[in-house]
């Protein structure tokens, strides 16, 4: 029970750091001015056009696809797998579960495989490709290791040593309603959750910020209309009437 209390407290702290940290970063990105028009052209001329450009970047990693098929396939496997896994995990936070969450449960299982395969592929590149080896810092390796361990411990519980998921749900629902419930006693689960806590804390101070950052890149989110509409912001707005 003391361990459960400890985990509960850590989850609250991690949630605050995670949400607060990302919110702070998003605030900084949003309030930092973009003084000049710098979309990478050819760029869309309209707002829906820009939205479509960004949707393509998020869903099919369009630029990466143009760039490198190996990184694309591993990166996409990982991210899409992760999405399925996260959706599968929604069942721990919603009661009664929505029907489509029930529906995708098996896909979440395959997702975990895709996720870990993708991560190993990306990690292999850090050793095998001389250019990628050169640019990798220890943190780049550790981040992959962290994600792989999260994936592998999760898969262990799904495929090898099942745990009492009803009790887990009791714990997570308890977290949300501030009604402390014990975690089932499982070493793999404790490792899995500890690693997730680390991931949540590290997220807002690491390269994982690429997730919110993508939406704010002026090269991708600006319209190509500098002649049609005068753009002034930050230093370029100083001394202007607008």
């Amino acid at each position: 029970m003391t361990l459960s209390v400890l985990y509960a407290i850590l989850f609250y702290v991690a949630a605050i750091v995670f949400i607060g940290g990302i919110a702070r970063k998003i605030y900084i990105y949003a309030k930092t001015p973009a003084p000049l028009k710098i979309p990478t052209t050819p760029a869309p001329l309209t707002k829906p056009g820009v939205a479509w450009r960004i949707i393509k970047e998020i869903t099919v990693f369009q630029s990466l696809f143009k760039s490198n098929k190996w990184i694309w396939i591993f990166g996409w496997l990982f991210h899409f797998g992760l999405l399925l896994v996260l959706l599968r995990h929604l069942r721990y936070f919603i009661e009664p579960t929505w029907f489509w969450i029930d529906l995708i449960q098996p896909f979440g299982k395959y997702g975990s495989i895709a996720m870990v395969v993708g991560l190993f592929g990306l990690w292999a590149r850090r050793f095998l490709v001389d250019r990628v080896r050169y640019i990798s810092s220890p943190s780049d390796h550790l981040m992959l290791l962290l994600l792989i361990l999260i994936g592998v411990t999760g898969m262990l519980m799904t495929f090898v040593i099942p745990i009492n998921i009803v009790a887990v749900k009791g714990f997570t629902m308890g977290l949300m309603t501030f009604d402390m419930q014990p975690l089932p006693s499982s070493t793999v689960l404790f490792i899995h959750l500890a690693l997730i806590i680390v991931l949540m804390v590290v997220f807002p101070i690491s390269k994982l910020l690429h997730a919110p950052g993508l939406f704010f890149a002026p090269t991708r989110n600006q319209r190509d209309n500098p002649r049609e509409q005068r753009h002034v912001q930050g230093w370029s707005a100083e001394g202007q009437q607008q």
Binding site: I38, D130, V132, L214, A217
Partner: protein, 498 residues
């Protein structure tokens, strides 16, 4: 560097990605600006005493004033997508010329001083203090980036290394370590009005000579006017167009187009420069100050339109930044976009039938077109995305019978830099320039072999100068490089209309 010490790298047989050779270009550095050059553009004359402190503070200011930097410094995941996209990496194999590694030179210092991870776990995330060694790396490798934005096309987060190298150069300028080539030239623009330091009488003289040449060549009284109040069009063109080959043939081409279409136009001796090297050094004070001469000239001459000649980065500044910096252009004719590119003007006249081109006049040319980086990836022509690729090609196809594009992965937004952009067009960087031209030369060699291409057309003053210098290293004739309006000018049917 003397010509005989520089050799071109060999073409790659299968375009394989070259392996890294650490430190291959560590000695490549442009000349450092002298105090006079520095002060002419508002920077300290020499290395300031507390340069580390000043640099770190300046970096912080730049980041908090630019969303691009703020986001780009956070979002890179080191995926490696950009690592083989830079022409300087391909040509030199120096790993610091991989876009991500170049960015990291700055990112490491930013992390060290402005992020939690870098402050407390520098080794883990590869954060570095801004010491003498790092300063030297910055000077060397931020002057091995032509700010061509090719990497930004391929980055899944749209990270643009140009923004980073501009910031790096600005930090260096702020501590007194500027680059001679850019800063000296900018001083001349501020003082005299053009990069060459060509004063008004010399300009007038040159243009008169040009009018005589035009009359000798064509038998028509084609004018190249300067400072004519009340003209309809103010032409802002790179000053290389006044004297360099093949640039000057382009200028004569513009003159023929305006003449035949019956459009009155003028150059300005006060704003006799389209180039704005302030962009290369990231200095927005200088950017604005240089551009402002053009607004002043346009108001002074009372023109209705501003048209920009063939120049890549100048077109980026004009198209993307002028409205912001020196707009609004409410004093100009609303029927035309402001500013217009000379290619847009010629294309428009061609569509309307106001000029006619005789393709057979160019039958001796077998043409290919080099998309200039700043035109391709940082601007537009016409009213649709990608017009910057369509319009110049439409003009070439209307002016000549023989046109062949280079390989698709080397044109349009995938175009490779000529190797001399971004303020690197200086002789002491010749080794870098020759090596950086490799991917473009490989693509050119292919169409030369396949279609007997003998003419490489560009619409950028830097590209033209760079190719004229670099082509011979790859055993192509230097006069293979032509201005687009040279080809148009040779095909234009003069007389008849008026």
């Amino acid at each position: 560097m003397a010509k005989d010490t520089v050799t071109a790298p060999k073409y790659r047989e299968f375009r394989e990605i070259p392996v890294i050779v650490e430190g291959a270009m560590a000695d490549s550095k442009p000349y450092v600006a002298k105090p006079a050059h520095q002060e002419g553009v508002g920077f300290p004359g020499e290395l300031v005493d507390n340069w580390q402190e000043v640099a770190v503070k300046k970096l912080g200011e730049l980041v908090s004033n630019s969303r691009a930097l703020q986001v780009f410094l956070d979002t890179c995941v080191k995926c490696g997508a950009c690592t083989d996209k830079c022409h300087y990496y391909i040509g030199t194999q120096d790993p610091n010329n991989m876009p991500v590694a170049r960015q990291d030179l700055l990112r490491k210092v930013y992390r060290r001083h402005y992020t939690f991870a870098g402050k407390y776990f520098p080794k883990l995330v590869g954060a570095l203090d801004f010491d003498e060694e790092v300063r030297d790396l910055w000077y060397s490798y931020f002057h091995q980036c032509s700010q061509c934005r090719r990497c930004s096309v391929f980055c899944p987060y749209g990270i643009d290394t140009a923004e980073i190298s501009m910031a790096g150069r600005e930090v260096l300028d702020s501590i007194g370590v500027g680059q001679k080539y850019c800063n000296e030239i900018l001083g001349k623009v501020h003082k005299i009005g053009n990069n060459l330091g060509l004063p008004e009488p010399a300009l007038v003289d040159t243009l008169e000579g040009l009018e005589e040449d035009l009359e000798d060549d064509t038998g028509h009284k084609i004018r190249v006017p300067v400072d004519e109040k009340g003209a309809e069009v103010l032409l802002i063109t790179p000053s290389a167009d006044f004297f360099a080959e093949p640039h000057i043939d382009g200028l004569m081409g513009y003159a023929k187009v305006f003449h035949q279409a019956g459009i009155s136009w003028t150059l300005s001796s006060y704003a006799s420069e389209a180039a704005n090297f302030s962009m290369f050094i990231g200095s927005h004070d200088n950017l604005k100050r240089t551009a402002m001469r053009i607004r002043e000239a346009a108001l002074d001459l009372g023109v209705k339109r501003i048209v920009v000649g063939e120049c890549g980065h100048a077109w980026r500044v004009a198209y993307s930044f002028w409205n912001t910096l020196i707009g609004p252009f409410d004093f100009l004719d609303k029927t035309y976009p402001s500013p217009s590119h000379i290619c847009e003007v010629t294309y428009d006249l061609l569509q309307k039938g106001a000029i006619k081109l005789d393709k057979e006049a160019n039958d001796h040319r077998i043409i290919t077109f080099h998309d200039s980086c700043n035109v391709s990836r940082a601007s537009r022509m016409g009213n649709m995305p990608g017009g910057q690729f369509i319009i110049p090609r439409a003009l070439l196809k209307a002016a000549a019978n023989n046109f062949y594009d280079m390989a698709p992965e080397t044109i349009h937004e995938n175009t490779f830099c000529c190797g001399g952009g971004g303020g690197l067009l200086t002789d002491e960087l010749m080794d870098l320039r020759v090596k950086g031209a490799l991917p473009r030369m490989e693509a050119l060699a292919e169409v030369v072999e396949k279609y007997n291409v003998n003419t490489l057309v560009a619409i950028c003053a830097i590209c033209k100068t760079q190719f004229a210098k670099v082509l011979p290293y790859y055993e192509f004739p230097m006069d293979m490089i032509n201005s687009l309006h040279q080809v148009v000018g040779d095909a234009i049917v003069l007389g008849g209309n008026h």
